[in-house]
């Protein structure tokens, strides 16, 4: 239900902001460049440029929805929240001889994450104590129920009454409304029901927000981020966890590139190497690195060695194939021209083949870095003493969803930064790409 509402709201934001931005742009800005004069843009890919306003709104929308559908304390627009606080309802107990009596149940609903949230005194909150009440008159006595948000509880109303179940007493009315076992009454504060055996049952209204266990509010995640930075998690600070993952990727990737690129060149330049390595590369390429984790652990243990070797294997084939296709992408006329100008084989390799294959190598490096980054997290999920993947895995076992969210965001951001870095390096080293 919440999911459908979320999707509908998201689509609405997409459409409304599109119309609004288009209107504003038309009103306040005029573009005069060539592309803006094209009338055919639908189908002309070169005329499609990312609308930066859309990117900004898209990111903001995700944060806004995140806040709106969690129990955030931020002053933003929020979806209807779960019921919290006090509510009372009455039940009517009826004996087999027809005598009946009303009693009140006082319900107190407290935040489910009270123990995880610091109170005004800076200490974690406590589950509130049962308030004391008057027992009331008649044979049915008043009851108290203390229950967390998103929870539900059976109310053993007869436990303090004069008559118990064996006496044949039954709940016949809730809030003055006749009710049979298996039926329910919906209040704005929650759902009152009788079980099939006739026991009253209360479930506070859940609203449309997610509980902290499923999705912590943005400020909870950011608090956790700073806390992880300062205090660390499992003996290591966030920076150490991040560096542990990143350094594994860097070592594995560099080793893979160092061996894979010459391997690819050899495959692109000599018949024997092509024939020799073709079956190996073609066999290893489709094997997902994750499938190698168990073998790596059996062979090299759960330490750094097995992880670096795993990442090395992940990068090796990708870089070898990139270098090979880089060689095959050299226009034969260029090689012929270089030979006619008196270049030796060695000079051809250094001055023609290597520069000419750089664009392919960079494409391969981007893919390999992406795969390595994904693989390291997975490898750490299996076994590690530090690293972002390990942090997520251990946190998940303790239901610390905020750490999991912080870890996921960090992994995404770092992966994105790596890609931007390689692209930057590429535009610096291969300025001719796409211009020939």
């Amino acid at each position: 239900m919440t999911g459908i509402i979320l999707l509908a709201v998201y689509i609405a934001i997409f459409a409304v902001s599109m119309v609004a931005v288009a209107w504003c742009t038309k009103q306040f800005f005029t573009r005069a460049d060539y592309t803006s004069l094209k009338t055919v843009t639908f189908g002309d890919e070169s005329a499609v440029r990312p609308n930066r306003a859309a990117s900004v709104i898209s990111v903001l929308a995700i944060f806004a929805l995140w806040a709106a559908f969690t129990n955030t304390s931020l002053p933003v627009l929020k979806a209807k929240g779960p019921f919290e606080g006090a509510v009372k309802f009455t039940y009517t107990a009826t004996l087999p001889d027809g005598r009946s009596d009303d009693a009140t149940v006082s319900v107190l609903v407290y935040p489910e994450d009270v123990q995880l949230t610091d109170g005004p005194d800076g200490k974690p909150g406590k589950i509130p104590a049962k308030p004391s009440i008057e027992p009331g008159e008649g044979f049915a006595k008043n009851d108290v129920l203390v229950i967390a948000r998103y929870g539900s509880k059976l109310i053993s109303v007869f436990s303090n009454d004069e008559f118990k179940k064996p006496d044949g007493v039954k709940v016949t009315h809730l809030n003055g409304q006749a009710i049979a076992p298996g039926e329910e009454i919906i209040l704005s504060e929650g759902r009152l029901a009788l079980t099939d055996k006739g026991t009253p049952f209360f479930e506070p209204a859940k609203g449309f927000r997610m509980a902290r266990l499923y999705l912590p509010a943005p400020e909870v995640a950011s608090d956790r981020f700073w806390k992880l930075n300062n205090e660390g998690y499992r003996n290591f600070t966030l920076l150490e966890h991040t560096w542990a993952s990143l350094s594994r990727v860097i070592y594995g990737f560099l080793l893979g590139a160092l061996l894979g690129i010459p391997l690819g060149y050899a495959m692109g330049l000599t018949n024997w190497a092509r024939g020799w390595f073709d079956p190996i590369v073609e066999f290893m390429r489709p094997v997902p690195p994750l499938a190698l984790i168990p073998l790596m652990i059996i062979w090299f243990g759960i330490g750094e060695t097995s992880k670096v070797i795993l990442l090395f294997l992940a990068a090796l084939w990708i870089m070898a194939i990139a270098a090979r296709s880089g060689v095959s992408g050299v226009a034969i006329a260029k090689v012929h021209a270089a030979y006619s100008l008196g270049a030796s084989k060695w000079q051809i390799l250094l001055k023609v083949i290597i520069p000419n294959s750089l664009p392919e190598i960079f494409t391969g490096a981007r893919v390999a870095m992406g795969v390595c980054w994904g693989t390291v997290v997975a490898a750490e999920l299996v076994a590690a003493e530090k690293g972002l993947g390990m942090m997520i895995m251990v946190a998940a076992k303790f239901q610390l969803t905020d750490i999991v969210i912080v870890g996921i965001i960090l992994i995404g951001v770092i992966g994105f930064l790596i890609d931007i870095g390689i692209r930057q390096l590429e535009s610096w080293l291969v300025p001719w790409k796409g211009k020939v």
């Binding site: 226009a331 006329a333 260029k334 012929h336 021209a337 270089a338 030979y339 006619s340 100008l341 008196g342 270049a343 030796s344 000079q347 001055k351 023609v352 520069p355 000419n356 750089l358 291969v430 300025p431 001719w432 211009k435 020939v436």
Partner: protein
């Protein structure tokens, strides 16, 4: 400086489907030093194959190429080559491209700089020395390719449809440039083209090749290259012999093309 001897070259190779192709059959040609030879022929007559054999990129099945009294075994710096698409190195500047040959010989910087500067002035690119080659137009790129080839001081220059990818106006300018360079440097030049006009204008000696098997069909000695060097090429085209020869060669090539078409239709 020396000429070039194409001594009874034949080339035949097997096809994957079991057949074989006779690309060239008994081609013999003696090219004198400083001669400007243009080679013309319908597609599939083996003219590019012949050039690749002369350049040393392909080995003939029989016969040999002799340059400087030595048999050609592979590509070498004494036979420079200019390709249709420039084949420039886009990771180098114009200057680095032109000095590629001297650099490969480990010529001292000062000396190669002088050569490069002079040649870039000859081809009119002195203001583009430090530009990237992909910033230049097609005609300019081809000038760089010419300069790069000349910088290496080859005895023979092989040109494989060097002006084929240029527009008509640029092409005419480049034709003048090639003629001027030929006159000035006195190099032996073999030029392959599929344009009859270009072959007439640039060929002191013109070779028409015939296909299946590739062979020399007819040879002409023409005055137009002499006339065109340093002069207006459009004036040359007005010469009565020019139109006559052009018509003769065109009808010859048309006949060959028709024959090929007929043969493929028969076999189909």
């Amino acid at each position: 400086m020396s000429g070039l001897l194409i001594d009874n070259i034949s080339m035949r190779f097997d096809l994957p489907n079991g057949g074989s192709v006779q690309a060239l059959k008994n081609v013999t040609l003696d090219i004198k030093s400083g001669e400007l030879l243009s080679v013309l022929g319908p597609s599939g007559c083996g003219k590019t194959t012949l050039l690749n054999i002369v350049a040393g990129f392909l080995a003939p099945t029989s016969g040999q190429i002799i340059v400087n009294e030595k048999s050609v075994k592979g590509p070498g710096a004494e036979r420079g080559m200019v390709f249709q698409q420039g084949a420039l190195f886009e990771w180098m500047t114009v200057r680095e491209n032109v000095s590629f040959g001297p650099d490969m010989k480990k010529m001292p910087r000062a000396q190669s700089r002088k050569i490069v500067d002079r040649l870039l002035e000859v081809v009119g690119l002195q203001d583009f020395k430090d530009k990237a080659v992909y910033e230049l137009s097609g005609g300019m790129q081809q000038r760089v390719a010419l300069a790069r080839c000349l910088a290496n001081e080859p005895d023979v220059i092989l040109m494989d449809e060097p002006l084929g990818a240029l527009d008509a106006l640029t092409r005419e300018k480049m034709q003048s440039l090639v003629l001027d360079l030929w006159k000035e440097t006195g190099k032996t030049i073999i030029l392959i083209t599929h344009s009859v006009e270009e072959a007439l204008l640039l060929g002191e000696r013109l070779l028409v090749m015939a296909p299946r098997p590739g062979r020399i069909h007819k040879e002409y000695r023409l005055p137009f290259a002499e006339m065109g060097a340093g002069a207006d090429l459009r004036e040359v085209k007005k010469h009565p012999d020019y139109a006559k020869t052009r018509e003769e060669i065109l009808s010859m090539i048309w006949e060959m093309e028709e024959e090929i078409m007929g043969r493929t239709e028969e076999s189909a």
